[in-house]
């Protein structure tokens, strides 16, 4: 019976389970980091007292938050499309988990080594826009609808420079295979692609912030104007799903940045998952730092940044890359 199941399926199944654990653990760590870093930036201790004395500095805070959200009442608002309303959080979280399948965490730690890895990630992260659109549309709420409309225009606009920037790295390496891209870079920082493509790294970082709806581009859930944007009507675990998805997409974006520009699992000494996780967490901390430092941009400014600056710069970067390769 067991021999009848192909090995590939078993690998994917076990890998998906491990990834779900990884995503959940990451969300717990990131919630804690976000609140703690916010505290330090505001010159206050942040979560500190929650938990017994053997767990100092409030490290049980995310656990308390998670269990509280599980125990919270969930309901469908009156007039909402209940099928789409409950489908949206699931569509939001599921593609985020699939994205991790092709990411090489270490020289030997990758679930599927495929030569379309980068395309797969870009395709699946695009589905999140649809999920947020459904969430805003189905919840029969004016704030939700405005949030969804903002998310679509922002997501579609920032997808273009993101793809152009990725394309310039792909032209350099000649492959979409994430393992090969990471493997092609050396151990030391001056051998990483960030040295050859510094502009691309900056553009990718800005686009990643916008794609994951982080400050200063968190217009779809702008608290001061839209209550909570697309997830205004979601309570309890449905809300937690959106947050889990947001953190998962942040990790995916940081992983791609680490692989494309910072050498992935390569590092001085022995290459391995420790270098990869260190780079990913440094990038995530920079994202959190930016969130608590900068004010939110206005919506016209957001689109102007994209269409007037990021896309021309990304095209320029791509053309220069092509010219250098051709020479």
């Amino acid at each position: 019976m067991i021999e009848a199941i192909p090995t590939q399926f078993i690998i994917i199944f076990v890998g998906l389970l491990a990834i779900m654990a990884f995503v959940g653990l990451n969300a717990v760590v990131l919630v804690y980091l976000e609140r703690k870093v916010a505290g330090f930036i505001h010159r206050r201790p942040g979560p500190y007292e929650v938990g017994p004395p053997c767990f100092p500095h409030g490290i049980l805070q995310p656990i308390a938050d998670g269990l509280k959200l599980v125990g919270k009442q969930i309901f469908t608002p009156k007039g909402a499309d209940s099928f789409l309303f409950w489908l949206a959080p699931m569509i939001s979280i599921a593609p985020a988990i699939v994205c991790f399948i092709v990411i090489p965490f270490g020289p030997k730690l990758q679930i599927i080594n495929t030569n379309v890895g980068l395309i797969l990630i870009l395709a699946f992260t695009g589905i999140n826009v649809l999920a947020l659109c459904l969430a805003g549309w189905a919840s029969q709420n004016k704030y939700g609808l405005i949030g969804a409309a903002r998310d679509i225009s922002q997501g579609v606009a920032y997808e273009i420079p993101l793809l152009l920037v990725v394309l310039s790295v792909v032209f350099m390496t000649g492959t979409f295979n994430l393992f090969d891209i990471a493997d092609g870079q050396g151990a030391w920082p001056w051998q990483w692609y960030i040295v050859y493509q510094p502009l691309a790294f900056v553009l990718f970082f800005i686009c990643a912030l916008a794609e994951t709806n982080r400050n200063p581009f968190d217009l779809p859930e702008a608290e001061s104007e839209l209550t909570a944007g697309f997830h205004t009507e979601y309570s309890g675990m449905a809300f937690a799903c959106f947050f889990l998805a947001e953190y998962a997409y942040m990790v995916v974006a940081a992983c791609i940045m680490a692989i494309l520009f910072l050498g992935g699992f390569q590092g001085p000494g022995a290459p391995g998952i420790w270098w990869f996780l260190a780079k990913v967490y440094v990038l995530l901390l920079i994202m959190i730092w930016i969130r608590w430092t900068f004010p939110r941009v206005r919506f016209d400014q957001l689109l102007n940044i994209c269409w007037k600056w990021l896309i021309p710069l990304a095209v320029l970067n791509l053309l220069i890359t092509l010219a250098v390769i051709a020479l």
Binding site: G71, T232, F239
Partner: protein, 182 residues
């Protein structure tokens, strides 16, 4: 004197709630501790007491230490309603609506004298003020003061935590020793 039997034009808030799916004492006990340690207040200030509520979240008093700094703008995601200020009759249907929009379990702190009883606005034949927010929604903890200081509101938060879990979690201020303070 105040109007003892003040009539309001709208009904008392709907306080019905769903029974828990797993009504099992140890599970509820753990969940209650988690609820008490992660009370997310609603971003919602009515009058000058809201300034003290902001102080309660900011650096000097820092409600984040007790897990209560996540001010959620949407009532669907918040657990604690801090009625910080005067509730006038024109606003009272909206306060009731916000209370009803919060998913249970939910708790209410009436902060300041205006929210508790109408405070300085209560006089004979006054026509605009709801004399106590407990006339429109159920209140769990009253924090008196005009306005209460942020540490008073922190004490109110501790009282809500005590009400949820049945025990006090933090040292009482008078008996706190130097080593117990951070």
């Amino acid at each position: 004197m105040a109007q003892e039997n003040q009539t309001l034009t709208h009904a008392y808030a709907d306080i019905s709630y769903d029974e828990p799916i797993i009504d099992h004492a140890p599970v509820q006990k753990i969940l209650n501790i988690c609820r008490a340690m992660s009370l997310w207040p609603m971003t919602f200030g009515l009058a000058c007491c809201a300034i003290e509520m902001m102080g309660f979240g900011m650096a000097r008093f820092d409600s984040a230490r007790f897990g209560a700094e996540v001010f959620r703008p949407s009532p669907r995601q918040s657990d604690l309603m801090i009625v910080a200020g005067t509730v006038n009759k024109k606003l009272s249907p909206l306060v009731t609506m916000l209370y009803e929009q919060m998913p249970s379990p939910k708790w209410v702190i009436a902060m300041g004298n205006c929210a508790i009883s109408g405070g300085p606005f209560v006089y004979k034949n006054q026509y605009g003020i709801v004399e106590g927010v407990d006339r429109i929604i159920p209140v769990d903890v009253y924090v008196p003061g005009c306005p209460p200081r942020p540490e008073g509101l922190l004490e109110g938060l501790f009282q809500v935590q005590k009400k949820i879990t049945g025990r006090r979690w933090w040292p009482v201020p008078e008996t706190a020793t130097k080593s117990e303070q951070w």
